[in-house]
């Protein structure tokens, strides 16, 4: 149990750091938009890199921020019924949901995302715009981010098991 809990702690720390870094991407997004607006409106010079750059920042932001949100229980849940159950049941239900929903979802996305990312790297896929940036890194975001979510699910399961066995966290 002790080993498991230290694994959970390690996962939490890892996702916490990912979140703390990625949260600043919002400032970058604002800056990119402001630069584009000024250049386009002020100097009639729209930038070819603008649209795809904003997609990249946005995509990294929402996917890599999600495991962090999960860690800090930021995702809404309908707990009207479950919160009225005895505590033991709540833990068991949570474990069942993690296995039935979160792990199925995240592993499916990892499994489905890897071949798409691998093909993109092999072909050195480029974007469709005039700018034609490499986008294989962007295809890789989905499997990596969902793997982090899977890990976060494992960490939660460990903590619920520990709570069931009465281990102090």
């Amino acid at each position: 149990m002790k080993l498991l809990l230290s694994i959970a702690g390690w996962i939490d720390t890892c996702n916490d750091w990912v979140g703390r870094v990625i949260q600043w991407a919002i400032v970058l997004l604002v800056v990119v938009f402001i630069i584009e607006s000024v250049l386009r409106k002020g100097f009639s010079a729209p930038q070819i890199w603008f649209t795809e750059t904003s997609y990249f920042i946005f995509g990294y932001y929402i996917l890599f921020g999600s495991a962090y949100t999960f860690l800090h229980k930021g995702h809404v849940a309908i707990d009207l019924i479950s919160e009225r159950m005895p505590e033991k049941w709540q833990h068991m239900l949570a474990i069942a949901c993690f296995i039935g929903f979160t792990s199925v979802f995240s592993l499916a996305m990892v499994k489905g995302g890897i071949p798409i990312a691998v093909n993109s790297w092999k072909a050195m896929e480029l974007g469709h715009s005039v700018w034609r940036p490499p986008i294989a890194h962007f295809r890789t975001v989905i499997p990596v981010a969902f793997f982090l979510i899977f890990l976060q699910g494992i960490s939660s399961i460990i903590k619920h098991i520990a709570a069931l066995r009465g281990t102090k966290l």
Partner: protein, 439 residues
């Protein structure tokens, strides 16, 4: 298995799963994958990945974190508090003046996160105890705060309109401009009601005695000074969309940038406040975006199973446009009490909007606005409405759950009046949009 039976089973399974208390986004994602594996097969996985990728490259949705960032910067700058203090000074001598001040702040500040909870909690903490201290009626106080808080879902820049525009494939800018009329209508109805009620029964919202206040000119200047910056900010954001200078996403970035400048002007700009806003933004944005991702996958499977067609077929068979209108509103209302609004839009809009337009000839902007007002009604409705739970979680002194329920009812009536007015007079929506987008 007949189509209708499959639809009913899927609906029960989905609602049952959501009530297990697991995060909505992950429940939808997991359930979508499981149903897909059963009914579609291994092709589900690449479909799910492609659907997720399509969310990451959706330009209108980029507006979501930008506006949320703007809202948190404003919140952290204490602008809502300054504004409430300023308007309070101005309207306190009126019957129900403080409740009117709450409504005005909520209207201007509806730039809030589109997360109803955030508006209600921040207004509740800010104004709730003060109104009760001034001997305002408990039911009126909580009703005003809850109704004001739910305005954030309608008044632009609201998250709901961004998601609606992105899913329905209609212009978010046009939705923003169209929502100004209905938003002001509702907020006007609330203020009118509060004023009349307190005029008739001053004990419910006693005016603050004039003797306790500065003279009018001092209060006027102070009030105006506190209201001008946030109003100006909203004017810049909406004006840039109205005059076609910026898309909503660009307006979001401009708004966030302007909010940072306001923060500097108020002397609240420092690393810890910026970090607070960035952390809150990443959590709220990912919460909203992940529901979009999860339901997007679920919805693709739902459609591939033929359930979307079955549900659409049932509504096409209604035959009459007002019957269709009433049934969709009822469905949205009932779902609004139990499921997050993001999920409702992602699921139902792709099914109902094409039918509304092609079969019944309804204007998508008008229809969308009515869906937004209707969702507000469901947020306030006892016993499940979201707003009620957030209000309860504030634990205001002496306020019982019964007070909260009873306080919500007059405002629900007002929302229904607003809904009917907008339904009968589409001009509330179309007047401004025609003005802005006629070319």
């Amino acid at each position: 298995m007949s189509d209708t039976l499959l639809l009913l089973l899927t609906a029960f399974l989905t609602i049952g799963s959501l009530f297990l208390g697991h995060p909505v986004a992950l429940t939808f994602g997991g359930l979508g994958i499981l149903l897909g594996l059963v009914f579609i097969g291994p092709a589900t996985l690449p479909i799910a990945v492609t659907k997720t990728y399509s969310v990451m490259v959706s330009f209108p949705l980029i507006a979501i974190p930008l506006f949320i960032f703007m809202a948190y910067i404003l919140e952290r700058s204490g602008i809502a508090k300054k504004m409430f203090d300023g308007i309070r000074d101005l309207v306190a001598p009126l019957p129900g003046g403080l409740a009117i001040a709450v409504t005005i702040v909520c209207t201007v500040f509806a730039a809030s996160t589109g997360i109803i909870g955030a508006s209600i909690v921040s207004m509740g903490v800010l104004a709730g105890p003060y109104l009760l201290e001034q001997k305002y009626d408990k039911k009126l106080t909580v009703g005003t705060i809850m109704a004001g808080g739910t305005l954030g879902i309608l008044i632009p820049p609201s998250m709901l309109l961004i998601v609606l525009g992105a899913v329905a494939g209609i212009s978010v800018g046009q939705l923003f401009i169209g929502a100004i009329g209905p938003g002001l209508l509702l907020s006007g109805l609330y203020m009118f009601y509060i004023y009349i009620l307190c005029r008739i029964k001053p004990s419910l919202g006693p005016p603050v005695p004039k003797a306790e206040m500065d003279n009018l000119s001092v209060r006027f200047v102070r009030g105006m000074l506190s209201v001008t910056p946030p109003v100006l900010l909203m004017a810049v954001v909406l004006g840039s969309i109205f005059f076609g200078i910026a898309t909503p996403s660009e307006a979001g970035a401009i708004g966030a940038f302007a909010a940072i400048i306001l923060m500097i002007c108020y002397g609240e700009f420092n690393l810890s406040n910026l970090r607070y806003a960035a952390t809150a933004t990443v959590k709220t944005s990912c919460m909203v975006m992940f529901i979009i991702i999860g339901v997007n996958i679920f919805s693709a499977v739902f459609m591939a199973m033929g359930c979307g067609r079955t549900l659409g077929g049932l509504f096409e068979a209604l035959g009459n446009k007002w019957m269709f209108f009433a049934m969709t509103m009822l469905l949205v209302y009932l779902l609004g009490m139990i499921i997050d609004w993001t999920a409702i839009l992602m699921l139902l809009v792709p099914i109902f909007f094409p039918i509304a337009k092609q079969v019944y000839g309804l204007d998508p902007f008008w229809f969308g606005m009515l869906v937004a007002i209707n969702l507000q009604v469901s947020f306030l409705s006892p016993p499940f409405g979201y707003a009620l739970f957030f209000m309860k979680s504030l634990k205001l002194p002496g306020v019982t759950l019964g007070d909260i329920y009873k306080g919500a009812i007059p405002f629900i009536m007002l929302q229904i009046i607003g809904l009917i007015l907008v339904a009968i007079f589409p001009q509330f929506v179309t007047y401004l949009t025609n003005l802005a987008f006629a070319h």
